[in-house]
Symmetry: C2
Subunit: 384 residues, 2 copies
Amino acid sequence: MNIGCDTMELSVLQENLAKGLSIVSKAVDSRPNLPVLGNVLLEADDARLRLSATNLEMSITCWIGAKVSQPGSITLPAKTLSDLVANLSPERVDLTLDTTSQTMRIRCGATKSNIRGIDADEFPSVPTGGQNDVIVPGTVLKEMIAQTVFAAAKDEARPILTGVYILFEGDVLTMAAADGYRLAVRTAKIDSNFAEPFSMVVPARNLAEVGRIISDEDDEVGITLPGGRNTVMFHLRNVDVSSQLLEGKYPDFSAIIPRQYRTQTVMYTSDLLRACQRAEIFARDNANSGRIFVKPPKAPGEPGEVVVLGRSIERGDNEGMLDAAVEGEELDIAFNIRYLIDVLRVINEERVVFQSNGKTEPGVIRPENRDDFIHVIMPMSVNS
Amino acid sequence: MNIGCDTMELSVLQENLAKGLSIVSKAVDSRPNLPVLGNVLLEADDARLRLSATNLEMSITCWIGAKVSQPGSITLPAKTLSDLVANLSPERVDLTLDTTSQTMRIRCGATKSNIRGIDADEFPSVPTGGQNDVIVPGTVLKEMIAQTVFAAAKDEARPILTGVYILFEGDVLTMAAADGYRLAVRTAKIDSNFAEPFSMVVPARNLAEVGRIISDEDDEVGITLPGGRNTVMFHLRNVDVSSQLLEGKYPDFSAIIPRQYRTQTVMYTSDLLRACQRAEIFARDNANSGRIFVKPPKAPGEPGEVVVLGRSIERGDNEGMLDAAVEGEELDIAFNIRYLIDVLRVINEERVVFQSNGKTEPGVIRPENRDDFIHVIMPMSVNS
C-alpha cells in the first residue's frame, strides 16, 4: 500500500539524459550559496522530463523525451547525477522517486543507484515558455554572439560593459560589446518590424552560454523580450535559457566608429592571424603590444605589404610579412596583439580589411565585402 | 668580413623541429632554479641537430635531421622556441646564430625571428650514447612502465617508494612499484643473461616520461646500466633519456604477495572498471572506500556474482552487479576504489582475476591467463 507517497516514475534513454544534464549543468554554480542551487530540478509530466538549473542570474531548462508512469518532481545534486549518468551504459534508465526519503532510485542494466535529493519546492522558480516576440535563425544568432561577446569587459569596473547591448530597430537586430579598448558591432536583418526601437543589455557570459547551446538543430531561436520583468528568454528547440538583464544606460558607441580612413589594407585573415599569434609570443613581455607597419606599393601595379612585429626586450622578436592590397598612406601603429587575435578568430571570412586614420586613431577591422560586422580597436602608444 | 664569429647555420623541417622540441621540453622545469635550465641546448654537427633539455634529475636528448652549413651550439628559451616553432608553417626553417649577440635568427617563409640565447658552455653536460647493456622491445618496456609507475608513492615520506625498482636477474627483467597500500610487479623475459642479479631504483616520474616517449618506431630500446655513475640511460631510435637513480634499499616486497587464495573470481575487465567508476562517484565522500561482495554460485552450474558498492552518507550510493566465475568462499571486502580503477585501466586483457584470503588480507588483481603481472592491494576496514 502506498501511503501518501506520490512516487515519480519514468524511463529515459541514457544518451538523452546525459546530453540534457550537460546542457543545464552550465547554469549550476560550482560553489552555490544555497545547497539547492547545486542541484538540477527534474520534473516529469506527460511524456517529457524537464531538467532545470539556475544560478539565479541565468537559468537553463531542457526537455527530453521520457516514458512517464507517474509524474512528479525532485531536485538532485547536479555533479553526482551528471557523473553517474555519464558512466551508465547507453541503455534505458529507470528512475523511481521515494518521496518519503526524497531519494531517487536509478536503475540501468545491472547497476542501481540511490541519490538523495532536496524537495522541488525549495528550488527557485525557473521561467520557461512565453511568446516569441522575435525569431532569429540559429546560425545567425550563434555567429552574432561569437562576434561580440569576447569584446565585453571582463572586470566589473563599469558593470554595464560586462554586458552585450542588443537593439531591435525596424527590421534590424544589432549586438554590440565594448570594454573601453575595443568595440564589436554586429547587425542582421530580421523578419520583424520594430516601430519603436527596443534595447537591452544581457550579461556577456550568459549570452555566450546561449551561443554555445545553439546547435545545428536550432534553425530558429525565439526570443521573449522582457515585459514587466527584467528577464530575457531564448527558446531553442528543446532548451529555454533565461537571463537577467544589466541595469543602466549603455554608452553611445556609434560616435567612435570611424567613417573614413587614410590607410586601408586587405589581407588573408588566416595569414594575419598567424602573424599575430607569432608576434604575441614575444609581445607577452611588452603589455602585448605588437606593431603593424603598412607599406603602400612603391609603384603602381606593385603589391603593398604589411609587417607584424612582436618584441620582447629579454627574449627576442618576431616579424612577419604579409602580402596586402594597400591603399592610402604608409602607417606605423601598435595594438594589443591579443585583441587582434580575438577578432581575427571570429571573422569567418577569407579576407579581412584593416582601416586606419593614423597611429593615434582607432583602427577598424572588418570582413571583406560585408557591412554587418565592424570591430574598432584603440591603438597603443608607439615608442619610435 | 667575419671577425671571430663562428655562425652556426642550419636548416630543418618545421615538423621535425616541433616534434623534437615537444619531446625534450618534458625535461624542462617550469620554474628552473637557473635561467639556463629553462633553455633547450641546440647543437649542430654533421647532418643532425641535437636538442637537449635537463632538470638535473632527468635529461632528454633528441636528434633530428638537418642540413648543417656551419656547426655550432647555443641554448634558447624552451617555451619561446617551442611556441614559435609550433606556429610556423610546415616548411623549411633556417637557423643562423649571431654569436656576438648570442641571438638565433630563425626564418621560415615570410616570418623572421630573433631569439636571445645563453652560451652553450653554461648548460650542464647531458650524457648521451654509451653501450647498450640490455635491449628490450619498445612495446614491452612501454607496457611494463605503464603497469607499474602509477603504484609508486606520490609523497616523499619514504623517498625510495617514489621510485620503480628494476631488477635484472638471469633472463628476467622485473619492475615493481609500491606506496605502502598497493604493489605492482611486472616481469618480462629478455634476451640477456645476468649471472649476478643487478637492481636499481628509477624515479617513477622519469620512468613515466620514458614510457610516454616510446613510440611505435622504437622496436628496440637500449639501456645503459649505471657503471660508476648514479645514472641510467634509455636509448630510443632518435631519443636518449637519462635519469638519476634513487639511493637506498628498496623494501623486499616478495613476502607480501599472497601465494594462494580462499576466494577467486574472474570478471570482464571493462565491466569491473565501469562498476568501480560508478562506485567512485559516491565513494569520494568516504575516503574512496568501495565495497566488493563476492557471491559464489548457489548451486553447481549456476553463475556467481560480484557486487561493487560505493556509498556517500550525504549523497547516496551506487551498486553494480557483474557476472563472475567464482570459486571458493563468499567475501565482503573494502578497497580504495581509485586504486582498483588505476590498475584496471592498465590490465590490457579482456578478463581479470581477483583473489582474496579474506577481508583483512591483501587482495590480488591480475590479468587472466598471464603470470607476468600481479597487483596487490591492501583492503580498507569494513564497518559491517
